[in-house]
Amino acid sequence: MATLELPAEQRVDRLERMWQPRPGILGWLTTTDHKRVGLLYFWTTLGLFGAGGVEALLMRTQLIHANNDVLTPGQYDQVFTMHGITMIFFFIIPMTTGAFGNYLIPLMIGARDMAFPRMNALSYWIFLASGIFLYVGFATGNGPNAAWFGFPPLSSRPFDPNRSIEFYTLALIFNGISSSLASANFIVTMFKMRAPGMSFNRLPTFCYAFLAASFGLLFALPALSADCIFLYLDRMVGTHFFDVARGGSVLLWQHLFWFFGHPEVYILIVPAFGIATAIIPAFTQRKLVAYPLVAVAELLVVFIGFGVWAHHMFVVGLPTITIVFFAAATAMVVIPSSIQVFAWCMSMLTGMPRFKTPLLFIAGFIFMFVNGGLTGIMFVAVPFDQQVHDTYFVIAHFHYIIFGAAVFPIFGGMYYWFPKVTGKLYFEKPGQISFWIIFVGTNLLFFPMYVVGLLGMPRQVYTYPGNMGWTAYNLAETMGAYLTALGIAVLFANLVVSYFRGPPSGPDPWLGPTLEWATSSPPPEYNFPVIPTVSSAYANWDDDDRELDARKLAEGVMVLEQGHEHPVSTTVDGLFSEVVELPHSSAWPLILTVCLSVVFVMLVIGKFGVAGIFAVLCLLSLLGWHSREPQEA
């Protein structure tokens, strides 16, 4: 405001006061700050990653030699199903979109918060509740046990009589609500909350990747929810969606599931692409090669992902023409994937790469992604696919993609943004050691799986005979699993020690290209004292703009310190449209989540009346949520 001739310090003071969070635990329970929500996501997903990791180690321990009996067949079924569900729905998706996306996207686009801060908190609390819900099922012996894809008739009532599948269907729907809310929020945030001047062609590629993942989730999750609703109704109400004897179809489940399931795979991996495209320019000190192509390729991967689902179903007896169509569509994914691989590699080759830990993880990621990708293309050859279907070859392929390509960049990203979040530098040497242990461990873990798969070892078996020639490979895999676990332990030990003992990092230790490095580390509640000036996709490298920001702060332009004020831009051009007041610190997201959790618990045990009462309470809490409008807050 031009009329208020205040010095810069006073404006910053006023911002500090305006954005002050509530103190203590209450501050965390009612928080709507995207950074706090991101950290809550981070710690929760880390806990669930630990659970999923223990499940993986249990499986590998069981399979260390033939005819082992650490786990019973029933326990093994639950453990591998829980491992899959946990890692996909409760680790990678919430870790990428929830933790990285929440913390970083508003910072990268020069915003002070998400478009809908309370909805953001709601998506976290629902995610937490759905995780607890799933593990309550597991702890009471009702863990899902029909694999992460839960095919009927195995998952139908006669073959799975206890509550396992109720926990499965309801946990996935519950979790899906959280992911849908988060996706809608990310999309609107990236459409509307960008700093004025950040037109769509100046959006960092990291954000394009998260945009692609969010759109993917928004359109893929409904198919999973529909499927889970049908299965739940079949089991609890007596409908016949998957009951062949009464006109149902078991293939219906598979079509809907994979219509969700394949885009889901790309949703897992695309944020990793985004992290890679954030790290590579910082550590090569050059702009990313082919920025527009990479941005489009990120979106295209997910878009094509919606047309390939039946390649999971080549052995179920589809017509040949269908199979050929889906094989061809699958081969098409190579194009956007290759564009990106070439862009990453060329950026590194033509830049000045500094192989610090984050870039090491990205280099490892490219190796793992190409490896898993090439074996993925092999499945396009239908006879080959039919041969290795349901063998360990498939397990090896998708673990190279999911662990190698999706999780490596997550680890790299943890190192890369650690200084931003904590204000401390991590220790480089242990960081590099952790990378090499994880890299060797994962390859030792997953590469022999290709071999045992080709030797015919089926997936999802709790043990195997000793005379098949699989034992040595399985031993190697188990050693690899423990080595990987050791590497991950070194990684986190390094981060924990660095948090307490690390040297201060300053705002921008890597000379990063994007706006999160333009503010202090850790960022203040309001992120930026001045809404940043943006005139390219590498905003933090535009020194003139950063000087302009300092002048603006002195003159009080775009400081917006009158309240939780935020500029809103037009979707494509990033023109300055309006200033809105954002809501903040609300208890309603938590209250709504508690009511919703009771609804889901009651649905598990079939108490529809109580569930209805709590559904009404959910509506009432929504009423309370909207009772105070932003301008009254």
Partner: protein, 217 residues
């Protein structure tokens, strides 16, 4: 000051929309903003994901149907055609008063906006009441547990009715808000509820069209 121009607009020139008080000020602020508000995009996202969910239900209907030797299966009466379609068309017509309510609210004509929402609400509530009775009557003839036809028939119909019901709740809530004056927040809410109803109306036409198709083709 003059140096800092963002897309042809300096900071003090952008409307502080959530600060607007009273119909005239709200209308003026809304006219000065350059794009659609975040709330419009949010409802678009809801429609996208809900539309996909209902699309999966409709796809399931046809998937089961093309695999069935007879549709509806023997022993189950063919669905009525004329009355449900006419009623769906009547419901769809409420898109007109809802849109008019949005236009009126945006122009700051609060009383007109309230009247249009109320008019739409009455028709929508009438539709919902009839459909509830009809739903109950149909359950006497065959159930979701009869066979797969019954399962998808009632799931599809019930899901559509649930969307109508949520729309009614939104209408009532919106009216209660509009009675106490107009703010930018309430203007955005009116537009959002209007778009929700456009979606539900199209959805109802699709769902009723799908369900009645068993008797036609």
């Amino acid at each position: 000051m003059g140096d800092y121009v963002f897309g042809g607009r300096r900071e003090p020139e952008a409307p502080r929309t959530t600060e607007a008080r009273g119909p005239e000020e709200v209308a003026r602020a809304a006219a000065r903003r350059l794009g659609l508000p975040s709330s419009w995009w949010a409802i678009a996202m809801l429609v996208a994901t809900e539309g996909t969910l209902m699309g999966c239900f409709v796809a399931t209907y046809y998937y089961l149907r093309i695999r069935a030797p007879e549709w509806p299966p023997p022993g189950i009466p063919e669905p009525r055609v004329v009355v449900p379609l006419v009623l769906a068309a009547v419901l769809a017509a409420t898109s007109v008063p809802m849109q008019l309510a949005s236009v009126a609210a945006r122009a700051g004509r609060l009383a007109a906006a309230r009247r249009f929402v109320l008019a739409a609400l009455l028709v929508q509530a009438g539709y919902f009441a009839y459909e509830m009775v009809d739903f109950h009557d149909q359950l006497q003839q065959f159930q979701p547990s009869t066979d797969a036809y019954g399962s998808i028939y009632y799931t599809l119909l019930g899901a559509d009715h649930a969307h109508v019901f949520v729309g009614l709740l939104l209408d009532v809530w919106l009216l209660a808000k509009l009675v106490r004056g107009l703010t930018t927040y309430r203007l955005n809410a009116t537009v959002a509820v209007t778009w929700y109803w456009h979606f539900v109306n199209v959805l109802t036409l699709v769902v009723i069209g799908t369900l009645t198709s068993a008797a036609v083709i």
